[in-house]
Amino acid sequence: MSLDLNSVRDYLKHYDGPDVNLMEVCGSHTGAIAKNGIPSLLSDKIHLISGPGCPVCVCVSSYIDRLIELSLTENTCVVTFGDLIRVPGSQESLSIARGRGARVRMVYSPMETLDLAEKDPATTFVFAAVGFETTAPVYALLVEETKERHLSNVKLLTAIKTMPAVIDSLCSSHAPVDGFLAPGHVCAVTGYTAYEGLAKRYDLPFVVCGFTGPELLIGLTLLVKYRGQGIVKNAYPRVVTREGNQEAQALMQEVFEPAPAAWRGLGIIENSGLVLKGSYASCDAGSRDLSEDNKKNRACICDQVLTGRKKPVDCPLFGKVCSPMHPQGACMVSQEGSCFTWLTSGRQR
């Protein structure tokens, strides 16, 4: 079939085959799907599910608790992107802690930490290094620069996750998914060879996809079309190559090593995270062993939402007790969280 905008729009709207569940595993895709109003353009037989790809959403509570503890420690300042500030830990968020004196600094780039540290040598600046393979190279650069500039007051509290192992874990636990929109930005760094193995093993299609409305529609069309086939299609060739960005990969491998990682609601998954190597241990603010995950509200079903077993609207808290102003779980905080995007874009299906 032709993949021009009108054809794919027509195909997706009038699809009448067996029901098909498609998962996007990238928070930016979740946001772009809502922003473009994609659900309103799909037939009732096509169901979109948000996977565990929003870095803020998959942080365990003990990570947030540790950040808060650091931010209240004398001569210590936590440096972070804006998103993380309102994520609830087991008791409170950084935003609330700041109200009682916690030192938290919001930045747009991790590299800003270096200047902060140079200007104020008496303070230790801890960067909250949360993210996937997309942001990991920037954190690696931060660590290298810290070493280069001989700064002893820059540290990282890491919660860096990698995609393939968590997708493997979803598939092996029989999550109800018939195809994956593979994360475009992540694949730009890592390439997509890892997904070829997964596609074959589970007979599922993966489409590497961009973030514009037309790109999303094309990606979804290919997934429906290749349902039941274990193949990978690159529908984002202007940015992604099969092998990815080797320079960025080398930088990551220099500084980080694979490790088990704790995911909110999913438990510990082998080989699904990156931690600082032993030779960079002096830059670590105590990132290992932060696996405890206590829900602020026990009725929160973030874990089932993240694995595609429930929709945000199925949660008894959704839009009632839990709202972006008073989030009970991380999926309601981040602009890429599935609960946030469902609520703010009025999505019902």
Partner: protein, 339 residues
């Protein structure tokens, strides 16, 4: 309501609304608005408003805190249909503030006041201790009085004025102020200038021409999305808008794309949304485009009566690819203050 104030309470979005409801409206007056319309001697009516200004950096491409302090209050008066007349100005200066910087901001205030046709008639100065460490700041509060019907009949202008069939217009491109401030903070050299401006000319021209304006609202913090959601709610109608018709400059569009911002939720300081009778929509557009700061005015949608699956207060956006998405108020910008 949260127990302590966080930056979200100043975002102009939902948290701000909660704070007003929980603290201010309870103590003062249920029907508090940006500007109040009051009777003097039972007959002549005035509009009155106040606003405080905190912005970093204080000087930016296209404006500064002084210009902002005049425009913010002048525009609040204009949105009620009043002719802005007199302003007061209060200054809170942190110890260490440079006199040269203050003087530059005040000179800019005077120039902007002249442009807007208002007189600053009283003022106050306070000096407070600095934060220590960070660069000293200063803050400005202005209050203003405007004359109702000073430009023409404004009796029909209200936040609840939208009726089914009305046209929804904006006076120009969205997001310029937000992008200019954020760009300056990020140290990005660029061509984006703030739209910081008083909207006197366009409001006067509309009212003097007798256009049936049902609602005017300046699109500031919270952006167009927040403003339209609030107006749809207060008028109990449904608004339908089209993404492709909302004017956004190419520079702001690519800036927003790069930072993952939605121009629909980016702040402005010299733009308004207006709702006019359908019969006057084309005339309104012509007047706006011929007025100062209105050259990029556009018609972006229409007002409809609520029905079962789109209840009152809904704002429905048709996206560029034809998808539908419902628009809510800004939740939390997660960014430092821009105005």
């Amino acid at each position: 309501m949260d127990e302590v104030i966080t930056t979200a309470h100043g975002s102009g979005g939902r948290a701000t609304g909660e704070l007003i409801a929980a603290v201010f409206a309870k103590a003062f007056h249920d029907e508090m608005d940006d500007a109040a319309v009051l009777s003097v001697n039972g007959s002549e009516k005035i509009a009155m408003t106040t606003d405080s200004f905190v912005v970093t950096p204080r000087f930016y491409a296209g404006g500064d805190i002084g210009r902002l302090a005049i425009c913010g209050t002048v525009n609040d008066l204009l949105m009620r249909g009043a002719k802005p007349a007199y302003l007061t100005a209060g200054f809170i200066l942190e110890e260490g503030t440079k006199v040269e910087e203050l003087s530059r901001a005040v000179t800019s205030m005077a120039e902007t006041a002249r442009e807007a046709g208002v007189t600053v008639v009283a003022g106050d100065t306070k000096v407070v201790e600095g934060h220590g460490g960070s660069e000293p700041q200063f803050y400005i509060n202005t209050a203003g009085v405007g004359l109702m019907n000073g430009f023409g009949d404004a009796a029909s202008v209200s936040a609840a004025g939208a009726r089914p069939g009305d046209a929804i217009l904006v006076s120009g491109t969205m997001g310029d102020h937000h992008a200019a401030i954020l760009g300056a903070r990020l140290g990005l050299e660029g061509t984006i200038r703030s739209d910081n401006a008083p909207l006197v000319d366009m409001v006067r021209n509309l009212l003097q021409a007798g256009v049936r304006v049902h609602t005017m609202r300046d699109v500031t913090r919270g952006g167009l999305g927040t403003v339209l959601k609030e107006l749809a709610t207060s008028s109990k109608q449904v608004f339908r808008i089209e993404e492709e018709k909302i004017p956004v400059s190419p520079a702001v569009k690519s800036f927003a794309g790069m930072l993952g911002l939605d121009p629909l939720y980016m702040g402005n300081e010299g733009k308004m949304a207006l709702i006019v009778d359908e019969a006057d929509a084309e005339l309104s557009l012509q007047i706006l485009r011929a007025s100062k700061y209105g050259e990029n005015a556009a018609r972006i949608g229409k007002v409809e009566a609520p029905v079962a699956d789109t209840p009152e207060g809904s704002v429905i956006l048709t996206t560029a690819i034809g998808g539908l998405r419902s628009i809510d108020v800004l939740q939390d910008e997660g960014l430092p203050r821009i105005c």
